[in-house]
Symmetry: C2
Subunit: 503 residues, 2 copies
């Protein structure tokens, strides 16, 4: 007999309340309704506008006073359905190409449902979910050609993965016990290097780690937006001569602006010769290695001392999941471990797990983000991820060909991977006016719900930016984009001319 | 007519593949099946063992080679159901009281389903989810009695919230431009203070921020495990006399070991007088303020310059969600902002949102963790959270009364909140043997699936530790715990005696 059966009938139980539903069947019916809505939402995403401004009424509704008393879950869901569900960012749509924002998948969503149901804390312990994360880490190392002996950690995303890698770099290369004594006690100022095209999370990490943004030397790039290795060599030599302590180079496998890939083998050689830590920010570009034809582009990445990349970008897994890999497990752990009596590693029971992930990163409480990776990799297999990554790069080539065929459009940078920077620039339009018109084109595309590219400044000029980490995009979506850009651009030129004539 | 309808029939589409299912109805049926399993799992959790060791066969199964080809989603789910689903940590069970690990709720799980479906990136932009997070932050400030003008950020948990608060403290109190110049350039060594009972995430943050763990002065505690304010004053004076730069005091609203609450009003006064940043780690204890009878215990918390707390602990929301609040929004933003061309704040379109959350913390990519908080607060209302928090404290009082009634049990520390530290200690058992026997009791409770307390060392002695942040716990669960501890303890004493007689 189940020893709990009697307890459940104990009349004293009625004195205590819980957050479980009064009526489980009702909650279950609501859940099925939500699941149907979720599947409808995903199945028919192509039929909706990519994005729409959030209506003022909705914004006002989301400035309500604190709910003191509760209400029926079904009623709460209706409010969500009316006020929140329709007003998403749009990144699950086939024509969303802004920043570097992933798409998600239906089975990934269902994996999140089960992860939240189990609701483990993945700090450590002998529990199924921890073995799943270990499994996922070993798969990712294999997929990316990184050494199997490396340590790893699933994190919230690339920014955190960069922070982890750079923290280990700082501590491992410090002259003294930096974890204990801090940077003030360091004999020389520690400095690190990255190209001027490096992601701002690297600047944030330099600041947070107490090195200061000034300690990050921004090395110029060449015409392909790749780091100038000779300039890097000179900068290192100058710092050494000035009595500073160069300790790390951050290489890019896919810059955010243009998808440029730094010459990673050269950087690896240089770091070895100069005794510097080699960190690679491969937020999305690292995944290129999964596509056989693209693999040579990111060669050298596997030689990094630490590697940061995202799975919610070019692996299309729902948010949030990124990964930090470190070639030197003991250096990795030494950076983050902080013993505590309440976390003693006992020899048996739940605490006697295979690993305490909390000793490899910032988080002690950690959710089961590994599950969606595990289920997605099993569903699709690594080969399909390779094909999808290659497909996004082929689509980019296709977009580049469309741009190059159009005299009124101009490429703004090479497009080695999946990022296309271009703009509407018919002959005779000066740069300032082109900036304004392209900004107007961007707003028009977004506000009409047609497509969401983003923008950037390249060599001082405003550029439209199309980054495809989207498994739903098709070539006809790019045809539509180009038609719309031309039409909106020409309309803007006409409007400006008429305005000028009228004035 | 929907302009996409024609596109969808374009024969070229067939050349491109996606990660969407071939058959949406099949995926939907699988989803409904998973939802039913999830609801069964939650509804019947009380009938299962709390925890069981992960079988060797399961561990072996989770060391498979990288899947190169995909398989049917249903098959993947069956594997999950067999190998992962049964082997959870157990923290959703009514008799899980280890560490400080929350429980989750069914509607919180369904909220995660919808968050993953929408899959927005909450770095910024004009999108519904960002307004939801702003709404949730204003509710949390109201609930906790923190100033409405404060800035805030939902984060992965308390460790990250402490890191955020301490980073702002460091930069705001620095003598010079620390974000740019780093700690090496600081004129004096920066030091901070916290009690010896402070959570290890504070030590980790001191290390990560480049201050060094040594910069964190561990101030002794009194018999109630509260910081000794006189010792703190002396330490500050000594550091000032030695030419160092005291900049911050971290106060505890609920220590992890015993739930002790530092004298927060005294600390607030002292910080004001000494011009120090006052950071409060209220990981779980901050929530005590929601229960009217407990509110006085954490008075003074609302005067903190920054406040860290978790929602996946004592608000029973599924993992991961914590919160960092900062009284000084501009200092908060200045610590984390890092402008970038690709993140330009345009005046219209998607980027023209109400806030860029990425400028207030480490993450640029951020998931929609706000949704489960929004839906849960509306479902239950703040008053019910107050009742549940109070209920857990009353259950703790009840457990203390059981322990105190039993001559063979000993309280190891005061229990001001929801943490009970006690052990089996019949007269005549020396400390070393009591340590061993209580460790054995802990293993037995866990391995039998009866209950999961955790352990800690208090003044050098091994203690069982029961922390109730569990809305499913009932008093009879605590009755059962005490019976089992006594039974297992006595059996262990008998076994030891027999062994001694036999020897």
């Amino acid at each position: 007999m189940n020893p709990n059966a009697k307890l459940d009938q104990d009349p004293r139980s009625t004195r205590e309340e819980s957050l479980d539903p009064q009526d489980w069947n009702e909650m279950r019916r609501l859940g099925h309704r939500m699941l149907d809505d979720a599947m409808d939402y995903l199945e028919h995403v192509r039929e909706r506008p990519v994005w729409k401004p959030v209506p003022e009424g909705t914004k006002r509704g989301l400035r309500a006073p604190l709910p003191v008393e509760g209400q029926d879950a079904g009623t709460v869901y209706e409010e969500f359905r009316r006020d929140v569900f329709p007003h998403t960012m749009g990144n699950i749509h086939p024509r969303f190409w802004g920043w570097v924002i992933g798409t998600g998948t239906p089975f990934g969503v269902l994996a999140d449902l089960m992860a939240s149901t189990m609701n483990p804390n993945m700090g450590g312990g002998d529990q199924g979910p921890n073995y799943v994360e270990l499994q996922v880490l070993s798969w990712l190392k294999e997929m990316l050609g990184y050494p199997a002996e490396a340590s790893g950690l699933l994190v919230s995303g690339g920014s955190m993965a960069n922070l982890v890698g750079m923290a280990v770099a700082r501590n491992a290369k410090a002259e003294g016990d930096l974890a204990q004594e801090g940077l003030k006690a360091a004999p020389r100022q520690m400095v690190l290097y990255a190209s001027a095209e490096t992601h701002n999370s690297v600047h944030k990490a330099a600041s947070l780690l107490g090195l200061g943004r000034g300690a990050l030397r921004e090395i110029p790039v060449d015409r392909a937006f790749q780091i100038d290795v000779e300039a890097l060599r000179r900068a290192i030599a100058e710092d050494r001569n000035a009595g500073r302590h160069p300790f790390c180079v951050v290489g890019n496998a896919g810059t955010v602006n243009t998808g440029a890939i730094d010459p990673l083998p050269e950087l690896a050689d240089l770091c070895k010769a100069e005794d510097l830590w080699f960190h690679v920010d491969g937020a999305f570009g690292a995944l290129a290695t999964v596509a056989p034809d693209l693999k040579p582009l990111v060669r050298g990445m596997e030689r990094a001392d630490s590697l940061a990349f995202d799975l919610h970008k070019w692996m299309y897994i729902p948010y949030e999941v990124g990964c930090a890999l470190v070639r030197w497990p003991e250096k990795h752990r030494a950076t983050f471990v902080a013993p505590a009596d309440y976390l003693a590693h006992l020899t048996r029971g739940l605490p006697a797990g295979p690993i305490w992930f909390s000793e490899y990163g910032v988080q002690l409480s950690r959710g089961f983000r590994a599950l969606k990776v595990w289920m997605s990799l099993k569903e699709h297999g690594a080969a399909k991820y390779g094909r999808l990554v290659a497909q996004n790069c082929e689509q980019t080539k296709y977009l580049v060909s469309l741009v190059e065929q159009e005299p009124d459009l101009e490429m703004m940078a090479p497009a080695p991977l999946n990022v296309t920077c271009f703009r509407f620039a018919p002959r005779g339009l000066d740069d300032a006016r082109a900036d304004a018109i392209n900004e107007e084109i961007l707003y028009g595309l977004q506000e009409s719900g047609t497509a969401v590219p983003s923008s950037t400044m390249l060599r001082g000029r405003f550029s439209l930016r199309v980054c495809i980490v989207n498994h739903r995009t098709r070539r006809e979506d790019l045809d539509l984009l180009v038609r719309e850009v031309l039409q909106r651009g020409r309309a803007a030129v006409t409007a400006v001319s008429e305005l000028a004539r009228g004035a």
